[in-house]
Amino acid sequence: MENSNDFLLNLYTTMVLIRNFELMAEKLFLEGELPGFIHLYIGEEAIATGVMANLRKDDFITSTHRGHGHMIAKGADINRMMAELYGKETGYCKGKGGSMHIADFSLGVLGANGVVGGGLPIAVGAGLGIKMKKGDQIVVAFFGDGASNTGSFHESLNFASIYKLPVIFVLENNRYASTASTQATTAIENISDRAVAYGIPGITIDGNDVIAVYETTQEMVKRARDGGGPSLIEAKTYRIKGHFVGDPELYRNKKEVVEFWLNEPIKKFEKRLEREKILNSAEKKNIWESAQKKIKEAVIFAKESPIPDGNDALTDLFIHDSGYDY
């Protein structure tokens, strides 16, 4: 199955589904349909897709505020994702989390973090728990270049290394931490160089090349599963959209965005698939239309779903009692 045409087309289909989910989320937000903050994964689809193609269903990930792509690639139900964006009862978090916190523990998604660097210790703990249980699952911690400058990053890599935990740190370097460019905030060119300080492998790859992401992760997953311990993969990409939908983007030149758009991961992969005669224009049309149809259905599902009952705000803190009234 690996690298078969079906496998490659599946990767492409996942990337297209993520792209269309994000385009719809952007549109709905700009139309005033969605509350809160929306952080789009547009232009970064190859990373979640390439990484997740190596994971088993019982493997774990920790996601970020820019996490829709991680969820979709891990096999989430887009209806429940869209319902969460709308704050509906049928959403993954029953309307308590919203865009930034969509997670499904049963899919192995151990939270989506609104705190930059907040998910790394959780991923390390999942790795520690697996090691204590003598399990053979692995954990992928997704985070950004911004998180690589937090104390949490350094504590987590060291901790994972000394106990040889099965954790793969996937750094999605999209060149911006909120409004600050990575160049201006990070002392080195390749953040994967920091792996040396923790005695683990560190590698920088083209995060817009889904096959490069897939192959590099495959190696690191095997290493982790065989007890070889953690590794750091820096996948370089570019945040095509603003930090959040509605970001005035005063901090960057539009020309820069146009340049990076030429190298965006879906078009890049498409060219390869077309060149190798794996994808023809009819199939391509079919994949895009099918994704768009699913997204439209998800929007209908979300819109038709009920809002949560007001009293539900007082549930889910503790397991056996409400925890709010004392």
């Binding site: 210790p121 728990g129 249980k133 504590e155 397991i319």
Partner: protein
């Protein structure tokens, strides 16, 4: 009944639960080889070498990893070394452990226990003496245990290790060597049930931890003057036992709240506020709070004594209330 120390009772609780539940493991700084800075883990030395280990000084990942380990089915017990150092890793607790279940719509079981020493000792100064339990009572999402005796620490820790929600336990440094009766038989103490340590009719003192013993001493002194004080040990702050407190106030009509943490916005203010909301008509005098003076803990012994509340402050407060 046999008498053992607070530290021994704590160690027994953890060992007994580890024997029953293979998911329990425990880690933190200076515990596996040294038995803890104040000897809390001395009775665990050499036991379960694969399930008790020392970590680097990396509090954010120590606390945050407890969350991840719980989510994959383990039951971690993390020692926080000194309560003061909860601040160095606080985001893992207040932004992660206390929120993840709620913000994911009730997914997962967060059976984890954070525990460690707090409070004054022999001139430990400003960064090794703090009582910060109020912060965890304030931010919703974690249960707060604060025992005062060997019997209570054993029963409450054992209960905490059977809970499916996160628990934080504060153990006062000056209590670890205290001896007290602890039965050989298995027992637990439910969270949210206060204990009336001494019955009385004239005034109610609500307190926890070391201040329970100061308050009992105050009550004993005041007995000589014919004043009968009722001392209530809350034992847990989340949840806290409103019923026992309100009933006592309805009987005595006077309330003192005594804690070692700072008086300003300390948890005593919450108790006082709830009591005036629910039992205002029963109060014959303003509620008085006893707490530390609002400065960091100073080093010199006389300065530490001046800042920290003791039984004399409780006596003064009671007399003021009954005046």
């Amino acid at each position: 009944m046999r008498e053992i120390t607070f530290a021994e009772a704590l160690g027994e609780a953890i060992l007994e639960e580890m024997e029953k539940d293979p998911a329990i493991f425990t880690y933190g700084e200076d515990i596996a080889r040294q038995g803890g800075i104040f000897g809390a883990y001395k009775s665990l030395l050499g036991k379960f070498p694969d399930r008790i280990f020392d970590t680097p000084i990396s509090e954010e990942v120590i606390y945050g990893s407890a969350l991840g380990a719980a989510l994959v089915g383990m039951r971690p017990v993390v020692e926080f070394h000194f309560a003061d150092f909860l601040f160095t890793g606080i985001q893992s607790i207040t932004l992660q452990i206390e929120k993840i279940r709620y913000m994911t719509g009730g997914q997962g079981k967060l059976h984890l226990l954070l525990r460690g020493p707090d409070g004054i000792s022999n001139s430990a100064a400003a960064q090794h003496s703090e009582c910060i339990e109020t912060i965890f009572m304030h931010v919703p999402g974690i249960k707060v245990v604060i025992p005062s005796t060997p019997y209570d620490v054993k029963g409450l820790i054992k209960k905490a290790l059977q809970e499916d929600d996160p628990v934080i336990c504060f153990e006062h440094k000056m209590l670890y060597r205290m001896r007290g009766p602890v039965p050989e038989e298995d027992y637990t103490i439910p969270l949210g049930i206060a204990e009336v340590k001494r019955e009385g009719n004239d005034v109610t003192v609500v307190t926890v931890s070391r201040m329970v013993h100061e308050s009992l001493k105050a009550a004993e002194e005041l007995k000589k003057e014919g004043i009968s004080a009722e001392i209530i040990d809350l034992r847990t702050l989340v949840p806290w036992d409103r019923k026992t407190v309100i009933e006592s106030v309805k009987k005595t009509n006077h309330l003192i709240v005594a804690h070692e943490t700072w008086k300003r916005a300390g948890w005593g203010a919450e108790i006082a506020s709830v009591v005036q909301e629910e039992a205002f008509d029963y109060l014959d005098a303003p509620i008085i709070r006893v707490g530390a003076k609002n400065v960091p803990m100073p080093f010199a012994a006389n300065l530490q004594d001046f800042v920290t509340p003791n039984y004399k402050d409780v006596i003064t407060a009671i007399k003021q209330s009954l005046r």
